[in-house]
């Protein structure tokens, strides 16, 4: 009865090329006999809903499937303690839901003690027998059964911790109309236009099909859809990083593919999904100030304050040594600092606690007031609700749904009211 650990990034914990071998890897290390392994590997895969995946290549699986392979590899050893470090952070809602279901089954079987480290309270809360809430310094704020911990709701909120049930925001819009209309389209020329855009990688299946999309100054658009539905590809086409296989992309009435770097940087800011891939300098200060003029510098410093990255304490640190949430905010500072006309954001709220979320929404709102447009690929239902008013659903490269502009936004007050009920029940 050892301990097993599942890490955040599914791709970097797979050792073997094939799924079956990877699940068996831990058993080999414990010198299990071959016969037992041959029995145990399919069992473990079955318990995570991947029966028959033994010969599949682990690099070809989706993130959600990879994470389930990692869990199967740990489960195969029948550990007494199972530690999971934000196992759903990199997954889309469907993938996260499957992992949550698996964890719920494991909990019901009482086969192992499960320690789950998680940002998404809505996922973790219903699974927990005991909740331990930590503040930013790692000191406990509250510990105990979930209902007891919820009594400390105020303290939790102060520490920026998400609470359960306010994560999906679905019940919020009911009262939102009193906040007034927030459709802010300025009705001018679109900053970004896609006409019948198709895209496929060479020799591959189409990633985007017949996509038509216009984004005008003041628009706030959420691109939603499962992993692999083409969200990031659409952003990259808009930024001129890819060239459409057919159709036309216009950024500021120009073909972004042909724009010089300096021109494109004035038009658009792109915050990539993995913040580390957006870092170009050795210190946070250099990173923030890279290529900015005097006026942009003032705004960049202000953004640092607002996004909880004060330069007094962060200036000399390496961007690579920040926490995941801090890295995300730093990449947002660099994307927003030029006040570009189009903000293309890929999973902007990844790893953010409540405070990070609120600060980001406020900063985006301010830029939109000044005429910028937001185009954000996101899985985060709450962000879509709070920071955007148009929603484009993508599935397998098609635009399958479009919603908005909506006439209301969620506010936190409503959500907190909802918590009172939870506490008394």
């Amino acid at each position: 009865m050892g301990a097993g650990i599942v890490l955040q990034d599914p791709a970097s914990q797979l050792v073997m090329e094939r799924v079956g071998d990877d699940v068996a890897f831990g058993l080999e290390n414990l010198a299990w006999p071959l016969g037992t392994m041959r029995r145990r590997v399919p069992e473990a895969l079955q318990s995570v809903g991947l029966a028959g995946f033994e010969e599949r290549r682990s690099t070809r699986l989706s993130g959600g499937e990879q994470q389930r392979v990692a869990i199967a590899g740990v489960l195969a050893q029948a550990p007494g303690l199972l530690v999971l470090d934000e196992p759903t952070a990199n997954l889309d809602p469907d993938g996260a839901a499957v992992v949550a279901r698996i964890l719920a089954t494991l909990r019901d079987q009482r086969a192992a003690t499960i320690v789950l480290v998680e940002h998404r309270a809505s996922l973790a809360w219903p699974l927990a027998d005991v909740v331990l809430a930590l503040d930013q310094q790692g000191c406990p704020i509250a510990a105990g059964p979930p209902a007891d911990v919820l009594r400390a709701a105020r303290a939790l909120e102060r520490a920026g911790i998400w609470l359960p049930d306010d994560a999906d925001g679905s019940q919020a819009p009911a009262q939102a109309d009193k906040l007034g209309p927030v459709s802010r389209s300025h009705g001018t020329l679109p900053i970004l236009e896609l006409h019948d855009v198709r895209f496929a990688f060479e020799g591959g299946d189409p990633v985007l099909r017949e996509v038509d999309l216009g984004v005008s100054p003041g628009d706030r658009v959420a691109l939603m859809g499962p992993n692999g539905s083409g969200k990031t590809t659409l952003l990259r086409l808009a930024m001129g990083l890819l060239r459409p296989t057919a159709g036309e992309v216009q950024l500021g009435s120009r073909d972004p593919w042909r724009l010089a770097p300096a021109q494109i940087a004035r038009l658009a800011g792109y915050v990539v999904q993995d913040p580390e891939l957006g870092f170009l300098a050795d210190t946070v200060r250099e990173e923030v100030e890279l290529g900015l003029d005097a006026e942009q510098l003032v705004f960049a410093h202000e953004l640092c304050e607002r996004l909880a990255l004060p330069l007094e304490s962060f200036a000399d640190r390496s961007p690579y040594q920040l926490s995941g949430g801090e890295q995300r905010r730093l990449s947002l500072v660099t994307g927003l600092a030029r006040r570009p006309l189009l903000l293309a954001l890929d999973e902007p709220t990844y790893g953010q606690d409540r405070r990070g979320h609120e600060a980001l929404v406020a900063a985006l709102d301010e830029l939109v007031e000044q005429g910028s447009a937001v185009l954000a690929a996101t899985h985060d239902e709450r962000f879509a609700q709070d920071a955007t008013d148009r929603r484009i659903e993508l599935a397998a490269g098609w635009i399958v749904g479009e919603l908005g502009p909506r006439d209301g936004r969620a506010e936190y007050g409503i959500v907190v009211a909802g918590q009172g009920e939870l506490e008394t029940s």
Binding site: Q13, E17, R18, P33, T59, I264, L280, L290
Partner: protein
């Protein structure tokens, strides 16, 4: 995307083929023996014979689709052409007054000796490329690593670490693309030595995470068992003997 180019897709057909079932260590041994054998002569024929046999074996015994084989080796054949031309033009034989002159182009004199040397070299590179391509297209990475560990006594830490690192290559290639894109979007030119720092950080971080994940699963904690036992089979001996016979025949023919 990039994955297909960097890591050949050894599909089920190739894996089940004769060359796919031969132990990868045997194939490595054959490649080595052929390399040494070709060093015994400067003649152009043995490497050409071996190239031809390798390609036919790859198609017939390895189950490789002709298009897949062509895609893999065509760019390298262009490189061979470059090597041959360079050796032809800059050969030390050309200025030698005793060498047989074939033709002149302005100041350039091309001799029979230069042609022979260039052709011999080109044929050798060609055969190495072909053997390498057929090996890569018929060898399952897991089979290779398991064989190295179980039959070749290679340290598991090295072997499995390599296998895991190899799987990260396409991801790192994508990372490089994103890093360049980021530079462009911030108004900078795409290529800059600083990109290497970003790539190194990524590679080290990946290795670090992987090491944690491997250790967490008890790697290196003591004696291991194996999920895919690998043994020598009669087929290995048959193919090894046939390959040696082909080499000897190719060398004899050229006498």
């Amino acid at each position: 995307m990039t994955a297909g180019i960097l890591i050949p897709d050894v599909g089920p057909i190739q894996r089940a083929s004769v060359l796919g079932r031969v132990n990868p260590l045997v194939k490595l041994g054959i490649a080595l023996a052929w390399l040494v054998g070709m060093g015994l002569t400067l003649d152009v024929r043995p490497p050409l014979i071996l190239t031809l046999i390798t390609l036919i074996a790859g198609l017939q015994l390895g189950g490789i689709a002709p298009t897949a084989l062509a895609r893999r080796i065509a760019p390298l054949w262009l490189a061979v052409l470059g090597i041959v031309l360079a050796n032809l033009v800059f050969s030390a034989h050309n200025p030698d007054p005793l060498a047989t002159e074939l033709f002149r182009m302005g100041p350039l004199r091309v001799t029979q000796e230069a042609v022979d040397a260039a052709a011999g070299l080109g044929a050798r590179v060609l055969s190495i490329i072909s053997v390498g391509a057929v090996f890569a297209l018929t060898t399952d990475a897991t089979f290779l690593i398991d064989s190295l560990v179980q039959l070749g006594r290679v340290s598991p830490r090295f072997a499995y670490g390599t296998l895991a690192a190899y799987q990260a290559v396409p991801k790192l290639a994508d990372d490089l693309g994103t890093l360049r894109a980021t530079r462009r979007l911030r108004g900078l030119r795409e290529w800059h030595p600083r990109l290497i720092v970003g790539m190194l950080v990524r590679a080290i971080r990946h290795a670090d995470q992987l090491a944690i994940a491997m250790d967490a699963r008890g790697f290196g904690s003591g004696p291991r068992s194996t999920y895919r036992p690998v043994r020598w089979q009669p087929l290995d001996a048959v193919v090894a003997i046939a390959a040696l016979a082909i080499l000897v025949a190719a060398l004899v023919v050229s006498r």
